[in-house]
Symmetry: C2
Subunit: 378 residues, 2 copies
């Protein structure tokens, strides 16, 4: 294997695939990045078994030579060092040559690096993914849907299925949903094709990495769903993720649809008030704040920490209907929701002090957030 | 105590004094910030015993009212919460009122915070500092001198005196010097006054905090040296630091003045080469790199990590005199030096493979850096 390649393009591909590298892997070959050189260009592959990311750099881009291929071949290079050194090489062009025993010479200007390469034959094969069930979704939409739900996955590995986001697609309605049993986030969107695919659950952490690779524009991402894998095609990058085993719990019954009290609030003002109350609430670990709304639209938010003090916030509801309410909840969970809501106003529905709180952006009926209240004595 | 104060000015003073707050303190009163209100304005004090920082906000600034004093008095407020909440208050003005038992009400717009205050009588008295031995130095100069030496202090608490920077002032020559026994950094500057003051050693960590408070301009900082304390007067901020006990070792004899080999190198090129070699060297914990200079001015820098590979860097010396040299050293130490050197070119002097390496910026004869080489078999 012998190539000359433009540093920036190589670096960009490395940044993409290196997101699959895990520092915790116990499989030596997976500490490396695989390079495959063909006459078409260079393909980089990295994996932590759960996720495989592959990025291809075509030899020419808009008629400009990006890779000069002198000899095709493959090698696996130590990821951590390879990622760092390529960034810091002095010239715009990098020469890579694999010698006997996968020893690899990387040269740029007067810098010469000799890397201990590994045998690419030892690298695991890519997951087999049939192109049968595929959909096409604008990148910015997928990005937004992942962002709106991913924060609600469970951090607790004892229920692995809840560490994932449930993807369902029925009659062209794509819905993402995540819950950690204390809160829930869901969002949906109508796709152009009227298609139905079986439900899959994908690790929230993996989707977070995927989101870093998807550019924030309307270019379509192709999503291919196979039996045990989902493949996201983002431009020249292929992102494979394992589907989590198990059945995602049915959450449809816990979401109330009628409310005893309904509030409409200014998103920014509520965020700032909860944020100040949170500063004190977090001293108590529970992050607990109390919200009180009286019939005249006066909303009061309070938090207390015994050794430190008390925060009392007042704001006017834009609108209020139903009974007065006094309820306690985790302010961190509320801030997580408020952070992803882009609407100027939000709607909060209550059905009692022990029942789920439902939060919806006023100008986006497609997203819904649920927070369970705390049981408190007052 | 009762005041109305402009939030930004209060916030700025809080940011300054909070640098003295230690999360590790075992003295409850020192987890707080003391507020003293007089008709002159508000003074904030924070301390971790080693360091005391005091910032004063005058009631008026250029004829503009900053603090409206309704009642003078004092209180100690819980630092962590106070620092965070003031930043996040909704309006430009903050009202602070101390009630019975030091309970304190902070109000801004519709935010009301009730803080558990502590008795200011319990707060330790300020160190007594005589104004006898005082010098005046431009802020930007002090900042630069601290930056040029502070990184070389010892992180090892078993020799407390070496965790500090030695300040000596003889006949108007101010000199700062730090060493951790493996390396040394010193810099000096001629002051306007022809003054001599006894040597003092000040904690490198404390000087790092002081550097964050000194603005980067030519405004003079007054430095008052007492028996056990040094006081830095930075505008409206007073920064007291304890002088470290013990005698700083005499380092004058270990600095060679004649060299067998002398190199002049381009600072940027050397930095980039060492940086790349360091990427591999750090895998071996010792950070070891080897430098070879031949008589024709060809300089070669190498590092090796058995499992990963080898980096070989070549650069041309701007100038070389004396014998060829082959020497090994800690690349992290060299990078630390190169980071604070502003000169385009540096001079490196060698007196043998076992003797100290001396680095000097070419256009600044006032700074000197020393690194001990590694003993290696080849």
């Amino acid at each position: 294997m012998k190539i000359s390649i433009l540093k920036n393009q190589l670096n960009e591909a490395i940044q993409h695939v290196s997101k699959a590298i895990s520092s915790k892997t116990t499989i030596p070959i997976l500490t490396g990045i695989k390079l495959d050189v063909t006459h078409y260009g260079v393909t980089l592959t990295a994996s932590d078994i759960e996720t495989v990311i592959q990025a291809t750099i075509p030899a020419t881009d808009n008629g400009k030579e990006v890779v000069k291929v002198e000899e095709i071949g493959s090698v696996v290079l130590p990821a951590k060092f390879f990622v760092e050194i390529i960034k810091k090489l002095p010239k715009d062009t990098v020469d890579i040559e694999v010698l006997e025993g996968f020893s690899t010479i990387i040269q740029s200007g007067k810098s010469k690096v000799n890397m201990v390469g590994l045998d690419p034959e030892e690298y695991p094969a890519l997951p087999a993914v049939d192109d049968d069930q595929a959909i096409s979704v604008p990148g910015s939409l997928i990005k937004q849907m992942i962002r709106s739900t991913g924060f609600s996955v469970s951090a607790n590995e004892t229920s692995p299925i809840l560490t994932g986001v449930l993807w369902s697609l029925i009659d062209g309605q794509l819905k993402l949903l995540a819950t950690d049993r204390h809160r829930l986030a869901s969002t949906q969107s109508a796709l152009e094709e009227d298609i139905t695919i079986h439900d899959v659950t994908i690790s929230g952490k993996t989707l977070g990495e995927l989101n870093k690779i998807i550019p924030d524009n309307d270019e379509a991402i192709e999503i291919v769903v196979a039996d045990s894998q989902v493949l996201f095609k983002v431009g020249n990058v292929l992102f494979y993720s394992r589907i989590l085993d198990g059945t995602f719990p049915d959450t449809s019954k816990i979401i109330p649809t009628e409310f005893k009290t309904e509030l409409v609030l200014d998103t920014k003002k509520l965020t700032e008030s909860i944020d100040r109350a949170f500063l004190l609430a977090r001293e108590e670990k529970t992050n607990i704040v109390r919200l009180e709304a009286s019939g005249d639209g006066e909303v009061r938010i309070e938090s207390t920490s015994s050794g430190v003090g008390k925060v009392i916030e007042q704001l006017e509801a834009v609108d209020i209907t139903g009974e007065p309410i006094r309820i306690s909840f985790n302010s961190k969970y509320m801030l997580d929701v408020l952070k992803v809501i882009e609407s100027d106003k939000i709607h909060i529905g209550f059905t009692g002090t022990m029942s789920p709180i439902i939060i919806k952006p006023v100008d986006d009926s497609q997203s819904l957030y649920l927070i369970l209240p705390y049981r408190t004595s007052n």
